[in-house]
Amino acid sequence: MIESVGRSVRESVEGLGSAGRISLEGVRALRDVRTWGPLLTDQMRKLGVDSIPIGILIAAFMGIVLALLASYSFTNSVPRYLVGTLVQKTVMMELAPVLTGLALAGRVGASIAAEIGTMRVTEQVDALETLAYDPIAYLVVPRMLAGLVMFPVVVGVAMMVGLIAGWWASMGLLDMSSAQFIKGARLFFDMFDVRYGLVKAASFGVAVTAVGCACGLQARGGSEGVGAAATKAVVTSAVLILVLDAFWAVVWLLGRAT
């Protein structure tokens, strides 16, 4: 048991280390625009545009549940319009980035790890090197750039959908007027809320794609290795999203609060 604990810790650290190493190599490979440039649009569509429906679905239910939960939690002494405040703050700053990030970690992280892992075990990566293609520039850079740009896009859409869903739920399911909800949503709104959520989403995008690429490039031993790489990519990405969430809260929110 002790051995298995030690092995899993070592593998986790190795995974993070290799993700960091691949990220640094990706930064170096940014110069090779002719390699990754033509592939960027495809990756952005696959990672971002194709993920928007799942982002919208999550955000819609999230907004509705949050409005109902806020209304249930507030007693008579708390004004109803604070439902709007709670929905706005929670959706924009926390739930939309984190829940969408976790969903994309499952969808995008596993997809990248499986795709690159398959290329690795079928020696297509070696073939790229043989053809004088830099595998980092060809496989990693377009995915990481796509994650960096498209995660905030998906999360931004999710934020707005979550807010609109909360507004709709407040009017349709709760005894609230539109003016009340909007008053609450405007009450403590700050552009920082949007900025904070989008920056977090960008960092999640880089982390998820880097971990997916690293796990895929480390895949060994056929289809079983590809499956293991995909699983590992999802788990590591999810943990990394939560760690980054706490990191931004401590570094940015705590700094503003003090």
Binding site: D42, G48, L82, V149, V153, G156, M159, A185, M191
Partner: protein
Amino acid sequence: MKKRSNDFLLGAVILGAIALVTAVSLYLRESDIGTKRSQITARFRDVGQVQVGNAVVIRGVKAGKVERIELAEGGWVLVRISLDEDVALPPNPVLLLGASSLFGEWQATVTGRQSVPASKDVYAQLSDAAGDKDGALPGAVLPDIAQLTSVAGGIAGDIASAAKSFQLAFNDSAARELRASIHSVSLMSNDLARTVRVQSRNLDTIAVDVRSGAEALSRASDGFLRSVARLDSATSGGEVQRIVRESALAAVQVREASERLNQISKSFATTEGHLRSVMFRADSVLIKVDKGQGTLGLMVNDPRLYHHTDSLLMDLRLLFADIKKQPKRYFGIKIF
């Protein structure tokens, strides 16, 4: 073809997302792009919890928002507000900052100086901020709920300490003693009133008896006078007539005595009241004596004084006995 389709879709999604986020953010921020607004500046010493974006109200109606808050020279804080273009300011306007709810929301209120809440602090702030050479409105910060709660808490604390002091001074035993004293005085007063009533009734009865006795005596005297007059005609010396005259005089004197006694009986009721107040005073004196207050109280409550007095009397008695026995020992009378 597929590449171009991807590019179009991607561009549309990105631009759409940016437009959506921007539009909702501007809506929530109540930005007014393209709307003409008038700008007004007010100056304060302190702006409390007011922030950029807080509402500006006139007579309770939202008419603008706080645009900018900045520090200025001379220890001032300048607050710039924007108002809807068609909004007219009240005469002699001032800007008041205050909490609009219990949940940390603040707002700025534009009002006339005559409508300012009656508060020395607010008046002082407005007087201090008036007369800016750049035309900034005078501003004041109304006390927020935390300050009011703090003051109320202080008052409650003072009342609690006063109540505690009163509780210490007027404890259970003091209350019991006071109640017992009042009860004793009440009992004594009742006894005294009963006694005075009985005595008054007795005196009334005596007075009535004396009066009826006097009247009977007068009637007897008249009858006797008539008998004596008839007898007088039968006697020659007039002794009987003299006796009768003296008897009539005695009857008159008895009647006068009876009337005086009646007056005394009436004045006894007044005396009863006086006696009651005297008894009440005597009771308070006795309570003081009982508590050992004053000279008499000390004498009564201190057994040592009694023993000293007793031994002094014994000594004096022995001294007098010795003086009787041996007067020359104490008195030496020499004429020459």
